[in-house]
């Protein structure tokens, strides 16, 4: 019995994994990958262990262990998470697995919610791990069980790559009844197989290279790699770019031959050669790196009859950002002189619309934490090293409290570099609670061990907020909703040997400022935990209102806070009661004492 459901690509992939009988799943939240693991936990019929691991490396290793023992496993992360997990990834490929192991990695063309535009297909080729790349949410559902079958056939982990417009777009999927998977076979000890040693790696490297060729042949007959149409103009594409290409040739299909590539590595050489021989000229549409394009160029170079290949290497397609049907249409008309040119109507006379970058929510406790540090450090030569999470938004005016942001955990360690190179500065490290557990702790150990001079500010809002409020080791709740031991950040810091550790509510501005001042007056590693829950996970206080008789129109609240609930209406500040959470920060900065609770 099948049910038609509207599913996000991430949900479809998760249901595909459940249909394949996944038994162990682990991951770390990261846009646009997060919903996969959440859906697994929600929709599992039983027989599944799913966890938010402390970070991607832990997730990958736990999954590898379960795969060694014969379980079908899934690991989920965003593309930069794969960097964290690359240590085990680059070895488990040599060792191999027993139970099918799928590593789901979500790339972020744009980028929309990431630091980089890295391409996981390249990572897969570097790791010599086959990569599956679906073109739609419904294909994600169907492809997932196939990825498990290939993984077990070749005893290798496989990567399942998707991108934002697959992950976060919905489509109609026929979902079958899900069955509870059986239990795993169990681990069979064999130190010559499971212990990676130089001699074993040498032998296995030869097998990896041989497997690459074998898979390339196998993938040439894999049903999802397809050559569609018989037209003289070629289009090679993969991922969501296939959808854009289809839209761009709508009504002119007979002019084109489309090569849909769902396994960019190992590249299906035979099928690609057939494609090249059938067209006069080829355009390549893909987001991020020219992966399909490079493979085609390489094959083309070895052919007697060569054709022209246009793509990112020829500047025919933009090298950065997302692709679109209109960009594909434009490229087709330039390359082939045909295609659907989609003209955007122009509204040149439109009135200026406001700039609207993302901001910290009204009532966000991070705003109070940043303000406290800003006030305490006013007049000092100070650096503010930020990290990855909602609090990266503390960089925006008027707070302007993030000087650096690099990668998960780097706020803690970049500050240590500053204190060496610029000893006359006060250096602050900001890190969120989830990020602290993911990759902040080792940085603090480094600071204590090497006698760094930093002030660590842990922004503890009791959740992984940016990715949609996942639990983490400090919350006392697991992905499956079980109660567990909550790891105390304060106890961890004290255990590492940080002498100055204070926990303060940042919404008590006076106390927060004086605690930061106290830390500034000391040396060595000092830590302040600003603890106040994310406003999205707690019930709000009554909203505040402005007594317009008393408001002197000084705009101090606007200038200092940047709270989206506050704006000016004529000469007075106003508070939007639907957004205000009653955090009370504005009433603590107002010099006229005109902000108070609305009458009940």
């Amino acid at each position: 019995m099948k049910m038609k459901e509207l599913l996000m690509g991430n949900e479809a992939a998760a249901l595909g994994a459940l249909a394949a009988g996944v038994q162990v799943a682990a991951g770390y939240p990261g846009t646009p990958s997060t919903e996969v693991l959440e859906t697994l936990a929600k929709r599992s019929p039983g027989g599944l262990h799913a966890e938010w691991s402390v970070n991607e490396k832990a997730a990958m290793e736990a999954a590898a262990g379960a795969s060694y023992a014969g379980a079908r496993t899934l690991v989920t992360m965003k593309q930069v998470g794969l960097n964290v997990a690359s240590d085990p990834l680059m070895c488990v490929n040599y060792v191999g697995i027993k139970g099918g192991m799928v590593v789901y990695v979500a790339d972020d063309p744009g980028p929309i919610s990431s630091q980089t535009e890295q391409d996981t297909r390249r990572f897969a080729a570097y790791a010599k791990i086959p990569v599956f790349d679906c073109t739609s949410p419904e294909e994600a559902f169907e492809m997932m069980p196939e990825a498990y079958a290939y993984s077990e056939k070749y005893k290798t982990p496989v990567i399942f790559r998707s991108t934002t417009r697959i992950c976060h777009s919905c489509a109609v999927v026929d979902v079958p009844q899900l069955a509870v998977p059986g239990s795993a076979e169990g681990f069979v000890k064999d130190s010559r197989r499971w212990v990676i040693f130089p001699r074993l790696s040498y032998e296995n490297k030869k097998k990896l290279v041989a497997r690459e060729r074998e898979l390339a042949d196998d993938f040439s007959s894999y049903g999802r790699n397809e050559i569609i149409g018989n037209g003289p103009f070629g289009i090679a594409c993969g991922g969501v770019s296939y959808a854009y290409a289809k839209e761009a040739i709508l009504g002119k299909e007979e002019l084109f031959t489309v090569f849909k590539v769902c396994t960019p590595y190992p590249f299906p050489d035979d099928m690609a050669r057939s494609f090249l021989s059938r067209v006069e000229k080829a355009a390549v549409f893909e987001e991020l790196d020219p992966v399909i394009e490079d493979s085609l160029i390489s094959l083309n170079g070895r052919e007697e009859h060569r054709i022209e290949i246009a793509g990112k290497r020829t500047d025919s397609v933009p090298c950065a950002g997302e692709l679109s049907a209109e960009a594909a249409g434009r490229a087709l008309s330039e390359i082939f002189g045909t295609g659907t040119v989609i003209e955007a109507p122009s509204y040149e006379d439109r009135p200026p619309v406001p700039v609207r970058p993302p901001v910290l929510c009204a009532g966000c406790p991070h705003r109070a934490s940043f303000l406290a540090v800003k006030k305490a450090a006013a007049g000092l030569k100070a650096n503010f090293c930020g990290d990855i999470g909602c609090y990266t938004l503390g960089n925006a005016a008027p707070l302007d409290m993030v000087d650096t942001c690099l990668c998960m955990g780097a706020g803690v360690t970049v500050a240590q570099g500053f204190c060496r190179a610029e000893p006359d500065t006060v250096n602050f490290s900001f890190i969120g609670d989830s990020t602290f557990f993911a990759s902040g702790i080792t940085g603090v150990v480094n600071a204590v061990y090497n006698k760094a001079d930093i002030i660590l500010i842990v922004l503890d809002n009791s959740t992984t907020a940016m990715t949609g409020h996942q639990p983490h080791p400090g919350t006392g709740i697991t992905l499956m909703g079980d109660v567990t031991e909550a790891v105390s950040i304060e106890a961890v810091l004290k255990g590492i040997g940080v002498g100055f550790v204070k926990t303060v509510d940042p919404l008590d501005l006076k106390k927060a400022v004086s605690t930061v001042q106290e830390a500034i007056n000391q040396t060595g590693v000092r830590a302040i935990i600003f603890k106040s829950p994310c406003i999205a996970i707690v019930k709000h206080d009554r909203p505040l209102a402005i007594n317009t008789d008393k408001c002197i129109g000084c705009r101090k609240c606007i200038r200092e806070l940047g709270c989206p609930a506050m704006s000016m209406e004529g000469k007075h500040a106003v508070i939007d009661a639907t957004l205000c959470t009653g955090c009370g920060l504005c009433s603590q900065v107002c010099p006229a004492g005109c902000i108070g609770k609305e009458e009940a």
């Binding site: 919610s113 109609v172 679109s324 989609i342 619309v353 901001v359």
Partner: protein, 199 residues
């Protein structure tokens, strides 16, 4: 047949729920549906868009510029920003209430609903404005504007979805305690279209 509707607004206004309701209603009618939504960092008070496309088959999730049959503007300025998605002869349904931007407030820039709505009216023949104040009065919160816009869209007939189609999707998707308020908002939106058409 393929119909496309762009929903645009500011993070937190409920564009995602509205787009899901439209898509679910389309599936009930036997259509295929695709949506694409803004999720993640941009949701924090930034500009957001949801693309909804329904029909016998839908090639890609994103609506190209000039191809939307309807634009639902949850915020007047966002409607102006995204007007280039609207096809010639398409319909715009907009909320009359602006959401101030922190950047504009800091700069002391003047930003008013009047200018934005005036521009929409002047450039779109089928332009309907819904009152945020009325939604607040009827449903108790402006948060239900998403369903008012959806109701107006259904009444317009542009997407080949009817009020009962949306109603049934709301009953399936929305938490029980909010169903009635959502339906009231739906009715208000529909009534406004009827009224404007009569006038």
């Amino acid at each position: 047949m393929m119909k496309s509707c762009l929903l645009c607004g500011v993070g937190g206004q409920g564009t995602v729920l509205a787009s899901r309701i439209l898509a679910m209603a389309a599936i009930e009618k036997g259509y295929f549906a695709r949506t694409a939504e803004t999720i993640g960092m941009a949701q924090r008070g930034g500009c957001v868009t949801s693309h909804v496309r329904i029909g016998e088959s839908v090639p890609s999730p994103l609506i190209p510029p000039g191809r939307a049959d309807a634009v639902l503007a949850f915020e007047p300025g966002e409607g102006v920003r995204n007007l280039s998605y609207l096809k010639d002869g398409g319909i715009v349904i907009a909320s009359d209430r602006i959401v101030p931007s922190v950047t504009s407030s800091l700069a002391g820039a003047d930003y008013s609903a009047g200018t934005m709505l005036g521009y929409l009216r002047a450039n779109v023949r089928d332009c309907f404005i819904l009152s945020a104040g009325e939604v607040e009065r009827i449903c108790g919160s402006v948060r239900f504007m998403n369903m008012a816009l959806a109701g107006a869209l259904a009444e317009s007939g542009v997407m080949d979805l009817t009020l009962p189609d949306l109603e049934s999707a709301i009953r399936k998707k929305v938490r029980q305690q909010f169903v009635e308020k959502n339906l009231e908002a739906l009715q208000y939106g529909a009534a406004m279209i009827k009224e404007s058409r009569r006038a």
